[in-house]
């Protein structure tokens, strides 16, 4: 970030906005905004409660399961659609619809199918993440340089070799891009799923805080969730940069 021709460190910006928040809070302008320091105090207190820890566990578990399912289904489906034209024709339209559809609208249907429990949240996470993974995997597979495949075949590669040693590796940059976007969507999925189910996990906490106007706790939880989401995206971005060099070098 730059201002007055100088670099402003990101920490400075954070401190600036925290201060602004504190001032607005202290001035008691808006009842929805308690002072930032109070929110921090609430945060410190909240993370020690059993309810919060259980909710966190449930969230991470649902996220991991849903994301795992999305990878397990999304990558093979993307590979299939990248390799078999019939599969692409059959499924392509649907995948494109789901990638941009407001999936939140489907969560009530999932609730009916899977009940008001963790399964619904796992399925929601999966549903949010899977489509972009399918789409990016397919794009990656389709753009694999055909002469790499011919090269491998000319040296005696089996079908399995072609997939394991050429196709998946050559498409890895796109697959990882899909996974990163998938993770960002999955974070939304895990939050939205819990908010709509609202009787377990963070959903239950949010429900509790907002119904009782516990704004300090409410903001503490929100900040924490935002931080989790950013951390998740950063981690994947870091992994992605590690393989980026050959995305550029493929020609």
């Amino acid at each position: 970030m730059r201002a007055f021709g100088r670099d402003i460190p990101i920490m400075f910006a954070l401190v600036f906005w925290a201060l602004a928040w504190e001032i607005v809070g202290r001035a008691e302008l808006v009842f929805l905004v308690p002072p930032f320091t109070h929110v921090l105090a609430a945060l410190a207190e909240m993370v020690q409660t059993g309810k919060f820890q259980d909710a966190t566990l449930l969230t991470f578990e649902s996220f991991a399961l849903g994301m795992g399912l999305a990878l397990l289904l999304g990558i093979p489906l993307g590979v299939l659609m990248g390799r078999v034209e019939a599969a692409e024709k059959l499924l392509g339209t649907w995948v494109n619809v789901f990638v941009s559809a407001p999936l939140t609208a489907l969560v009530p249907v999932i609730m009916i199918l899977f009940g008001l429990g963790q399964t619904t949240i796992v399925v929601t996470v999966m549903l949010f993440a899977v489509w972009i993974i399918v789409l990016d995997t397919q794009a990656g597979i389709k753009h694999v340089n055909p002469s790499l495949l011919e090269m491998a075949r000319s040296f005696g590669a089996s079908r399995l070799d072609l997939y394991a040693r050429i196709l998946l590796l050559a498409a890895l940059p796109e697959i990882l891009a899909g996974v990163r976007l998938g993770i960002i969507r999955a974070v939304k999925g895990v939050v939205i799923g819990q908010l709509l189910v609202s009787i377990i996990g963070y959903g239950e906490l949010f429900e509790l805080y907002s119904r009782n106007f516990l704004m300090e706790q409410f903001w503490a939880l929100t900040i924490l969730l935002f931080a989790f989401a950013m951390l998740a995206a950063e981690l994947v971005g870091w992994a992605e940069r590690k393989v980026e060099f050959y995305a550029g070098a493929r020609g």
Binding site: L148, M151, A170, V243, F245
Partner: protein, 267 residues
């Protein structure tokens, strides 16, 4: 055959003999484009044969059929007396666009053919290193393709093909993506390779000079559908110095003669 001085190219009948033989090869692609028609050719062992012809006449198609990467619509390829049904260890391909795996080091790329054949890691690395040195890339083993120039990348492709120790090397315009100086150096290196390796080379190029310079035998193909127009034995002494060869009258005459034959195909 290695004589020079006479000006007439020695033309032989296109009788299929040699380590690689094409017998009645035709190829029609899905969609109805006929690329090749009734190719009968022999590729003598230990020699370099160049396929030369107008763009789109089916040179790449023929090379890929010989490699076993494409199936002919009619005819058979015989290698060492056996009909080809797919790729085999006695043939190796050098690709025009190098076909290097960008995620793998030079060492791993060169060893890839051996890796696919299940050669243990240590052994294949020893073999790969020696071929990397042979093509002049010693010290670049741990580099990645994007860190190399076009010429160096093609050397990696060549080392990979040499590493599997195939008897027949198939090269599709291997030098077309490198600059002129590098290309000349490559041509000279290729001649050394033919002298030292006793392998059979089948080579595709667009350059008449290059074809005559490196070949024992030049096959002229007609425009699509490609058929054998002429088979010319160059009869040049490739053992001498490059300067001598490039100024050799027979070499220059042959280039001119082939140009006269090919220009008839241009509109």
């Amino acid at each position: 055959m290695k004589t020079s001085g006479t000006t007439d190219p020695v033309e032989t009948a296109t009788k299929p003999d040699g380590i690689v033989q094409a017998r009645g090869i035709s190829k029609t692609y899905d969609g109805g484009i006929q690329a090749l028609e009734g190719i009968d050719l022999g590729f003598p062992k230990g020699e370099l044969t160049t396929l030369l012809g107008p763009s789109g006449c089916g040179k790449t198609t023929l090379l890929k059929i010989i490699a076993g990467l494409l199936e002919p619509s009619a005819g058979t390829i015989i290698v060492n007396g056996r009909a080809v049904t797919g790729p085999g260890p006695e043939r190796a391909f050098v690709f025009q666009d190098f076909a290097l795996m960008p995620w793998a080091s030079v060492l791993r790329n060169v060893a890839f053919g051996l890796e696919l054949r299940g050669v243990p890691r240590h052994e294949r690395h020893v073999i790969a290193r020696s071929h990397i040195a042979k093509v002049g890339l010693a010290g670049f083993e741990e580099r990645y393709p994007h860190e190399l120039s076009g010429g160096m990348r093609q050397r990696v492709g060549l080392a990979r093909a040499l590493a599997v120790d195939a008897e027949v090397l198939l090269m599709d315009e291997p030098f077309s993506a490198v600059d002129e100086q590098t290309r000349r150096k490559f041509q000279e290196d290729l001649l050394h390779l033919i002298q030292s390796e006793n392998k059979t080379f089948i080579f595709v190029t667009h350059s008449i000079e290059e074809a005559v310079y490196v070949s024992d035998q030049v096959v002229l193909l007609t425009p699509r559908p490609g058929a054998v127009s002429r088979v010319i034995r160059t009869g040049l002494d490739h053992g001498g110095s490059p300067e001598e060869l490039r100024r050799n009258k027979r070499y220059l005459d042959m280039v001119e003669e082939i140009w006269q034959m090919l220009r008839g195909y241009l509109v």
